[in-house]
Structures are given as structure tokens and as C-alpha cells.
């Protein structure tokens, strides 16, 4: 398929256009007459909360989902895209959060895989890939096995794959969700280069600062409907959030309260070894009352192990853990609970019994306190859970199975369970990962409130904005060690980012 020559020099002719796309899944309307267009050389933002219908829309464009209604135009000509191969032939490329790479093959092999030719000229393919790599500043060795690549490098391979197939429209689905700040920077530079070379880019995100940085226009979806397309420069962040959420979102103010002197939790020289290697290497930290300690780091640098130890799930090899004077070095989950530690683990689904009701999940860890004449006192449970559902604004009934809840509501159930016991120490990992703007706001406000009430909180998050907003101090982890510490008067996004990549250690 070739582009007709007389439009190519016009500034920003429309390359791809989705018109009145509607898609229903059972009773759920994922897309309701949604329109989106993207022009040559433009990066258009597609903004919306989880479940707003962003992914459905681009899946339609890529032929992964057939729309119930609506049509697609490529270069002003109607196009029938019924499967991904149609989309690829029409010049559309997509990079999702879930990569489709074969880890036992090299970069080159992965890229040429699926280009349906009988005879593959490996050398010229390799040359083309090397050229693409150089022009975009991607430091990817074309002969390296994918299994040896980092997440950021794998993402670059996915982009190369789309470019190798000569895509003219590139869809990036929440590309920075898996990246460290510096990697995101590299990615954005490359994306801008691509746009300058004439590729039309659709950037899906729910982070406003990315839209502000990368896009002139943004299309906002809310609950399956198109709110509209806006010039980013003409709207403030608060306005965009309001368009996205449907109402204004409040911020909690917690600046006025200062951390106290009482140490709630102290961790000294913690070491966790696994298969000969140290996952945690001499980690020491102290959490005081009314203090939030943020732990930053690129995923896989020991944060998960730290949380796992402080939830009582992993035994440390060496070191000492004390909470409110109790020695919890070899504590089991129940010991942590009894010492007044509230825990929110990284993996929500692994901390609940999905098929059980909201009520039973909330009381499971203290079910022995809800017994009456040998049986479970369902009445007392119901009273407590009703109260918590109101207090934490959980949109679910006590008897709903947890598996039927949205991520945000599931997280609120977990918080309700933990906070209703008034913990003195909170260990929380990725509290708002994958949640929509409103739920994120509510949960951050809850954490700020707990801090004001005297709790000491360890907050592990891959979202640097979250850490910058909530923390009194930020510790940066790299390769199992704490390599840098910042207090909130000297927070610097760039320096923290550098420390996360291991290069700014001091």
C-alpha cells in the first residue's frame, strides 16, 4: 500500500481515523460512538481512567476486536481491518504493555518473525534493524537474546518490530507503566524523532504530565464515551482531570504535621539470600510516628523482597526487625498482625481469597474473634463490614465475591481490612498501581490521614509522583541496597531518577 504523493507534503493530513466506533461486551458498553483521528507527524494523547475504553478503541484499530458499529479510514480511504494482519498491512503498529516476544530468540529473529515471506534475507534485515536502532538512539544489540534484555529494551524491540514492518501509525499503550524515569526519557526522545519523521503516534496514558510533555492534542474518554479532543496548552491539569473523571478531585493537605521522634519500626542490616545471591543487602531503615518513608527503585531491585519480609512471608537470612519493641525478625504473618503491622502487599490478588465474599475477606485474619457458640458470628461480621463499606466508600455489597470487584474497590477492601485495626505501622506496596484517578486520590488521601493520626508508613511504589507527593523521606533501592536517601525539602526528580539507575549513588 503506498501513500498518494499529493497529500504527503501538506502539514498533518489525517493518517488514521476511527469514526463512531461502538463496542459492547454483554451489558458493558466499552465504546459508545467514539471518534479519534491522528495526523501525520503528530503525537495524539488518548487519556482516560481504567475502564474508560482506551484499550478497546485501539484494539479495534489493530484488528484485535471487531466493533459492533463504526468505521475506520486510513489516508481518507475506508479500510476494513478484521484481524491484526490487516492492520499491519495498512501500516498500523501497536506496542502493548504485554510484550509478545520469544525470549529464546535474538532481537533480529524476533523482529523478522511473522513477516510473512518465504525467503528471509537475514543480512539486509539485520542492516535495516541496526540503522533503525542508531537513528533512534536505541542501545539494543540486534544479536542479543531477548531473555537477556531489560524490560525497557524489550519495549524498544517491540517498537522496532512495528517500524520494521513500515508502520505509519504507531499505538503505544501506557508505555511508561513499566519504565524507570530515565528509560521513559529515552523512549520519549525516540517517539518524538519518529513523529518528526512523519509517523502518526497514538499515546495512551493516564499520566497528565506525559500528555503535557508529548502531545498538542488529547482525546479524552470517560466511561466508554468520547468527552472530546482538546488542545493541551489551553487547559490546566485540574481541568483535564475534571474532564477525565467527570468531577473535580480534592487534594489532601498534610504538610503541616511533622514526623515525631518515636521509632515505630526499625530494620537493621537486613540480608535476604536466594540461590547464592543477595536480593537484599544490608538494608537498614527506621520509620517514626507520623512519617511516610517512600522506597523508590526500578522494579526488581529488592523492593519486593523487602515488602515480602516485612509482611512476614519471607524469612531474612540476617538482620533484625523490631516493631514497637517486639522482635519480629523471624515473624510469621500472624506475628506481624499481632504486633500492629498493617500490610498491603504488591499483588492484590495474592492477598485475598478471590472467590470469597468481601465480608469474609475482611475478617479472615481475625476470624477467631468472631465466634459465637462455635459458629461464625455472621451478624457481628455484617455490622462491622457494613460500617467499613460506608466509611471507605467501597462500591460493593458485603456478600459480593472479591473477584467481582474492580481493582480500586479491591484495594479499598484491603485498606479497610488493615486500617480498621488501627495499625501503628503500615507496610504498603504499589497501593495505586493500575487504579483510576479517583481511586488513586482516595487511597493517597487515606494514607495521608493515617500519617496524621500517628502511624509510621513504609510506602514502596514504582510511581515516583506518588512518592514525591506523600513521602517525608525517600530511599532509593538499587541491586538490593539502599543507595540514596532524600528528605522532602531536597526532593529532586532528576537526582532520584539517577540514583534509581545506580549511577548517582552517594
Amino acid at each position: 500500500m503506498s501513500v498518494s504523493t499529493h497529500v504527503i507534503d501538506e502539514p498533518g493530513p489525517i493518517t488514521a481515523r476511527l469514526i463512531d466506533i461502538s463496542k459492547r461486551f454483554g451489558d458493558v458498553i466499552a465504546n459508545d460512538r467514539v471518534c479519534l483521528d491522528v495526523r501525520r507527524g503528530e503525537i495524539v494523547g488518548l487519556l482516560g481512567e481504567n475502564g474508560a475504553g482506551k484499550s478497546t478503541l485501539v484494539k479495534v484499530l489493530y484488528g484485535l476486536t471487531l466493533p459492533d458499529e463504526g468505521r475506520i479510514e486510513i489516508d481518507r480511504a475506508p479500510s476494513t481491518i478484521r484481524k491484526p494482519s490487516d492492520a499491519i498491512a495498512a501500516g498500523i503498529g501497536m506496542v502493548t504493555q504485554h510484550f509478545s516476544l520469544v525470549s529464546t530468540m535474538t532481537v533480529v529473529e524476533n523482529i523478522i518473525l511473522g513477516t510473512s515471506r518465504i525467503i528471509i534475507d537475514r543480512d539486509s534485515a539485520r542492516k535495516k534493524i541496526v540503522l533503525l536502532c542508531e537513528s533512534l538512539g536505541f542501545g539494543v544489540d540486534p544479536d542479543e537474546l531477548v531473555s537477556a534484555l531489560s524490560v525497557g529494551q524489550r519495549q524498544r524491540v517491540e517498537i522496532l518490530k512495528a517500524l520494521y514492518r513500515d508502520c505509519r501509525v504507531l499505538v503505544l499503550d501506557e508505555p511508561t507503566a513499566v519504565l524507570a524515569p530515565q528509560e521513559a526519557e529515552t523512549l520519549f526522545k525516540a517517539v518524538r524523532l519518529l513523529a518528526n519523521s512523519g509517523i502518526a503516534v497514538i499515546l495512551i496514558t493516564h499520566k497528565l504530565h506525559e500528555v503535557r510533555k508529548m502531545c498538542q492534542r488529547v482525546t479524552i474518554l470517560r466511561r466508554g464515551s468520547c468527552v472530546g479532543t482538546y488542545e493541551v496548552a489551553q487547559h490546566s491539569d485540574d481541568e483535564l482531570v475534571e474532564l477525565m473523571v467527570g468531577r473535580a478531585v480534592e487534594h489532601a493537605n498534610h504538610e503541616t504535621v511533622k514526623p515525631g521522634n518515636l521509632v515505630r519500626m526499625s530494620v537493621r542490616n537486613l540480608v535476604v539470600e536466594s540461590r547464592g545471591g543477595r536480593i537484599l543487602d544490608n538494608v537498614s531503615l527506621e520509620i517514626r510516628e507520623r512519617e511516610i518513608i517512600g522506597v523508590a527503585g526500578v522494579s526488581g531491585n529488592g523492593q519486593s523482597a523487602l515488602v515480602s519480609v516485612l509482611c512476614g512471608l519471607t524469612r531474612p537470612t540476617k538482620g533484625k526487625i523490631e516493631v514497637n519493641g517486639h522482635d519480629l525478625t523471624h515473624g510469621k504473618p500472624m506475628d506481624y498482625l499481632n504486633a500492629g503491622v498493617g500490610r498491603i502487599a504488591e499483588d492484590r490478588h495474592a492477598s485475598v481469597i478471590a472467590e470469597m465474599s468481601v465480608a469474609h475477606n475482611i475478617v479472615l485474619e481475625r476470624i477467631d474473634g468472631f465466634r459465637k457458640a462455635g459458629a461464625i458470628d455472621e451478624k457481628a461480621i455484617s455490622t462491622l463490614v457494613q460500617k467499613l463499606i460506608q466509611q471507605f466508600a467501597i462500591r460493593a455489597a458485603p456478600n459480593d465475591p472479591v473477584s467481582s470487584l474492580s481493582g480500586g474497590n479491591m484495594q479499598k477492601v484491603l485498606l479497610a481490612k488493615v486500617l480498621s485495626r488501627e495499625p501503628k505501622v503500615l507496610v504498603i506496596a504499589q497501593p495505586t498501581r493500575g487504579l483510576d484517578v479517583l481511586a488513586t486520590r482516595e487511597i493517597r488521601n487515606m494514607l495521608a490521614f493515617q500519617r496524621v493520626n500517628g502511624a509510621g508508613i513504609l510506602l514502596v511504589s514504582e510511581d515516583l509522583d506518588e512518592l514525591l507527593e506523600l513521602s517525608d523521606r525517600i530511599l532509593v533501592m538499587y541491586e538490593g541496597r539502599i543507595v540514596a536517601e532524600f528528605t522532602n525539602s531536597q526532593f529532586d526528580r532528576n537526582e532520584i531518577g539517577l540514583a534509581m539507575t545506580g549511577s548517582g549513588s552517594r
Partner: protein
């Protein structure tokens, strides 16, 4: 092009637990009618004999309950274990060892009141089953050795143990048959209704089912066990001692399977015989699965399989079709149920041509 596709459900289908087994039964009837045809009989007549006749004859009905009693017990044993995430395939062996213990104590209970005799039989059976279940349970909870393999392998071990006893030290000294000494009258389970074989074992089965249902659904222990079964990871995170719960479930399950053995010795055979179980422990897995690991479901499935058993042997007498038909029907039922139950988690979507 119109097509039918299988799509995952967002939530498991609740009513499916009741509807799908019924669908499975219907499909089984359709499928097995082929086998009935092949045996030169009319499927409608045969299925009438199996499924309707027992409700018209007192003796057949009570005989069905007699046949259902051990299925209720082994089904409950398996359901309790599976619910807790402990895959006990060893009810057969636990039943046999329970029978050994009951047959061992039964002849030595002369002179005690019958109520104590019966209780002693039940406890002996429970103890035997528990001992046999303890070995794989400890291997699992202490050394993380897969219980499916160990419980399964202890079944033929128990069968050989029975054979060894009956052909060796326990061979009947009077008749020289390979069966143990008869238990005394005080150890016999009394007949509940005259002109039938329905005995106190049925009451034991009902009591056990009620207790297990209450424990699983009403008690804190039951909630913990279910949590461990649904998500061991989640249960551990919530401070539950998963290994301890597995151990309790395994031992409870073994004890109930052992009680089955005691009921067979005390109510039907009055002695240990080589064919005393004939696979009732394995059928328990079928009953538990068919019943959706739910005690009411176990009762329904146990009764259904007993109908098939009793009915097939009477169909054998009436129409002269092979008695193995019973195995054909229950085997088909098992496979079809397992397949159909997948639709609790999936559904069919019909796409019209565009």
C-alpha cells in the same frame, strides 16, 4: 461467517453448580443409550428400570439407600479434603484400613452394651483411616511431597494388607475361607426397618454429613479451610497456618473414609472380606466432584450413583443386559460432568453472520 466461541466468564456461574450436573446427567443418558442399544435392550425401558422403579418399590428404594450409605461417607471425606486444597485420592485405602481396625475389634466386644459396641466400631474405623491418612499428610505438610501420588499409592498397599491378613493370620479358623472372624452381636449395626438391609450405618453417614456441613460452612475452622483451599497464598498472607489446616483436613477426611469401612463391617459384611470395598473410595471422588464438593451435592450425587448401581443390576436381571452397564454409566457420568463443569467458568457465545 457465524460461529460459536468459548469465552471466559468474569465470575463463576453460581446456578451452574446445580444446573450443570443435571445437564451432565442428561447428556450421559443420551450417550449411554448407545451402549444399551448395543446390548439389545430399549434404553427407555432400561432407564425407567434404573431411575423410576426404585421410587415405586419399597425394597428397591431402601436398597438404594443401603448402597448410597458408603458413597455419602467417602464422598464427604473427599469433598472435605478437596475443599481445603488437599487432594486425597486415598479414601479407598483409608476405608480398607478402617475396616481392618473395625473387624479387628468387632469379635472382641462380647459382653459390652450394644451402644458401646457400635461406638467402638465407629471409632476404631475412624482411627484406622486416620492412621493411613497420617502418612501422606505428614509427607505433604513437612516435606511438601505431592499427596496425590502418595495417597494413591497407599490404596493398593492397603488392598494387599487386607489380602495378607485374610490369607494369613486372620483366615477364618472355622471355615478356612479367606475372611476374618465374625464380629459379635454387640458390635453389629442394628437394622432400622424390617425386611431390608438398611442399618445404623445410614444414620452414621447422615450424622457425619451434617457435622461436616456445619464445620465447613458455619465454623471458623471451616472458613479457614476453605480459604486455604481456594488460595493457599492468600490464606498464608492473612496469617492462617495453611500446613496445619491441610493436616486437619487430611486427617478428618481419612477418619471419615475409615468410618465407611467400619459401617461396611458392622452393617453389611460383619467381617473383613477381600472385596469389602470394591472401589467405593474411588467412587467417592466421583461423588464429591459430581456434587460440586458441597455436602448437599454429595448427598444428591451419592443417591444418583446408588440408583445407577442398584438399577443396573436389576436391569441385568430383568432385561438380561450386562451388569457392567453400571460402570459404563457412572464412568461416562464422571467424564461428562468434569467436561460440563468447565462451563461454570466459561460460556458459549454465538456470533451471527455479518
Amino acid at each position: 461467517m457465524s460461529s460459536i466461541r468459548i469465552v471466559a466468564r468474569t465470575q463463576s456461574w453460581r446456578n451452574g453448580a446445580v444446573i450443570l450436573p443435571l445437564v451432565a446427567v442428561l447428556i450421559t443418558l443420551l450417550v449411554t443409550s448407545g451402549a444399551v442399544f448395543a446390548a439389545n435392550a430399549n434404553p427407555l425401558q432400561v432407564f425407567f428400570e434404573i431411575f423410576i422403579e426404585p421410587f415405586r418399590s419399597r425394597y428397591s428404594f431402601l436398597e438404594t439407600l443401603v448402597s448410597a450409605t458408603p458413597l455419602f461417607l467417602t464422598g464427604t471425606a473427599v469433598a472435605l479434603a478437596f475443599r481445603s486444597g488437599y487432594y486425597n485420592i486415598g479414601a479407598e485405602g483409608q476405608l480398607l484400613v478402617g475396616a481392618i481396625f473395625a473387624a479387628g475389634i468387632g469379635p472382641r466386644l462380647g459382653g459390652v452394651p450394644q451402644i458401646f459396641g457400635i461406638l467402638a466400631m465407629v471409632f476404631a474405623g475412624a482411627f484406622g483411616g486416620l492412621v493411613w491418612a497420617l502418612i501422606p499428610a505428614l509427607l505433604r505438610t513437612r516435606a511438601n511431597i505431592d499427596e496425590v501420588v502418595t495417597t494413591l499409592l497407599l490404596n493398593p498397599t492397603a488392598t494387599l494388607l487386607v489380602a495378607g491378613l485374610l490369607n494369613g493370620p486372620w483366615r477364618n479358623p472355622v471355615t478356612h475361607f479367606n475372611e476374618s472372624e465374625r464380629i459379635v452381636a454387640a458390635a453389629e449395626f442394628p437394622i432400622l426397618l424390617s425386611r431390608s438391609r438398611i442399618n445404623f450405618g445410614f444414620v452414621v453417614a447422615v450424622i457425619v454429613m451434617i457435622i461436616v456441613a456445619l464445620v465447613v460452612h458455619r465454623s471458623a475452622l471451616g472458613l479457614k479451610m476453605r480459604a486455604a483451599g481456594l488460595s493457599p497464598e492468600g490464606a498464608r498472607f492473612n496469617g492462617l497456618a495453611v500446613e496445619g489446616l491441610l493436616l486437619k483436613a487430611a486427617l478428618g477426611s481419612g477418619a471419615i473414609a475409615g468410618i465407611t469401612g467400619a459401617c461396611l463391617v458392622g452393617g453389611i459384611q460383619f467381617r473383613l472380606t477381600e472385596g469389602i470395598s470394591g472401589g467405593l473410595g474411588y467412587t467417592g471422588i466421583l461423588v464429591a466432584t459430581l456434587g460440586g464438593l458441597n455436602i448437599l451435592g454429595v448427598a444428591a450425587a451419592g443417591f444418583l450413583l446408588a440408583l445407577v448401581n442398584v438399577g443396573a443390576s436389576s436391569a441385568n436381571r430383568v432385561f438380561g443386559i450386562p451388569a457392567q452397564l453400571s460402570a459404563v454409566i457412572s464412568g461416562s457420568l464422571m467424564m461428562i460432568t468434569v467436561a460440563v463443569m468447565l462451563f461454570r467458568r466459561y460460556r458459549l457465545v454465538y456470533r451471527k453472520a455479518k
